[in-house]
Symmetry: C2
Subunit: 241 residues, 2 copies
């Protein structure tokens, strides 16, 4: 099973995810995510690795499942959005006993919509989700997607907006977007969306780089119609009021 | 409160959404969504309108909240993705007592990730969410977004892909995308994702129009790297295996 925990608070985790976790014999995940659900994994075997150990972690999960264990691989948010679902399926496809292993993927509330709910309603119209991490994707591909999404007036949701390894990606992304959007375009940033320690800010394209955006932040950049109302981001769907 | 029910099955609704529903005195929503949660609304006042009565429904919700009732407006999936969250905030902003009314938006599992989980892991890379409904958006805007998202190799998620009022939009969308993607590009369709009566198919751009795509379907079109493995859609994130 590949389980989406949702943003982090237990009250945002679906009953289906919770039940699947309760049935698992072995729980595999990144340390930070295991810690989010410490009370739910008590008494079970836990396999943890660092953030960049995804391949080793998923291989171990598949090996344990092939040996007969009921294994749960956990991702925060939704496991199918930059999470572990794809890697598990890829490893299964290359495993001699992969076809015998039943796998279910259990969705969760993803950071895009958790952050949007905190900010107001910025995703009421078409939106594009882009990761700024170039660990697995060339920057040229990311830059092209930013440019085309900005040009077509999508609301933009940026995952992995900044880390120690890529301190200037967000700045470069902002400069690309500014070719197509006004500096006054509303921008929302949420750190730890839907988790303990959640913080949120509403700024604009001209000023949001001053905010403490980091790896656990989600950035939402409005389209040409997005506005700020009583401190909240709202992208009108187009109803006549 | 604006509450996201998730895809429809109770086991996919977050505890936070369920608790908010339990506390509400008045529940406002489209008939189909009220029916999805019939057992959870028993004993409370329910305000229903048809699918196109969104503005009247939300005005009624705000009027009832202004009169002191604890009101829950429900949307299936996530209420911030083509749901009621934005309209509620817009109506509140124009209401004389809008600033006095506390509003919380409770996220849910959206159709994009519920459908993705059923199909495999198609959303492991950057994706764009586009509604094909031109009820509130000119077709030219939709077509431009389809074209730019296809050109920049986003995975595409299509909401509202087909209805009686727009039987040929999906065909036109497919033709736009075919300018940039191979006819063999994998396409997944899920009807009633995460609900009773769920059905799913995996085809390709050349053939998926044969499927019974309708208003309650979600269509996911792979990027240039998406492949079919053991009947599931997988978009590689880029890990070396």
């Amino acid at each position: 099973m590949v389980i989406g925990l949702g943003p982090g608070r237990e009250e945002e985790m679906t009953p289906r995810a919770r039940q699947a976790l309760a049935r698992a014999e072995v729980i595999v995940g990144y340390r930070t995510y295991i810690d989010l659900i410490a009370s739910l994994v008590a008494g079970r075997e836990v396999v943890v690795t660092g953030m960049t150990g995804e391949v080793a972690r998923c291989r171990e999960a598949v090996a344990r499942a092939a040996a007969g264990a009921r294994v749960a691989v956990i991702s925060s948010g939704d496991p199918g959005v930059y999470g572990m679902a794809g890697l598990i399926l890829e490893i299964l496809a290359g495993h001699p006993r992969g076809k015998e292993i039943a796998v279910s993927i259990i969705p969760g509330v993803t950071a895009a919509t958790a952050a949007a709910a905190t900010l107001g309603a910025p995703l009421m119209h078409d939106f594009a989700v882009i990761s700024l991490s170039d660990r697995l994707t060339p920057w040229e591909v990311i830059a092209r997607r930013l440019e085309f999404a900005a040009a077509a007036d999508f609301v933009l949701v940026l995952y992995n907006p900044r880390s120690h390894g890529r301190p200037d990606h967000l700045h470069r992304a902002r400069d690309i977007i500014l070719q197509y959007r006004q500096p006054s375009t509303p921008v929302g940033v949420v750190r730890n969306a839907g988790r303990e320690g959640e913080e949120a800010w509403v700024r604009d394209l001209a000023t949001f780089l001053e905010l403490p955006v980091d790896m656990v932040s989600t950035v939402i950049i409005g389209n040409s119609q997005t506005r700020v109302q009583d401190g909240r981001l709202v992208t009108p769907r187009g109803y006549r009021l």
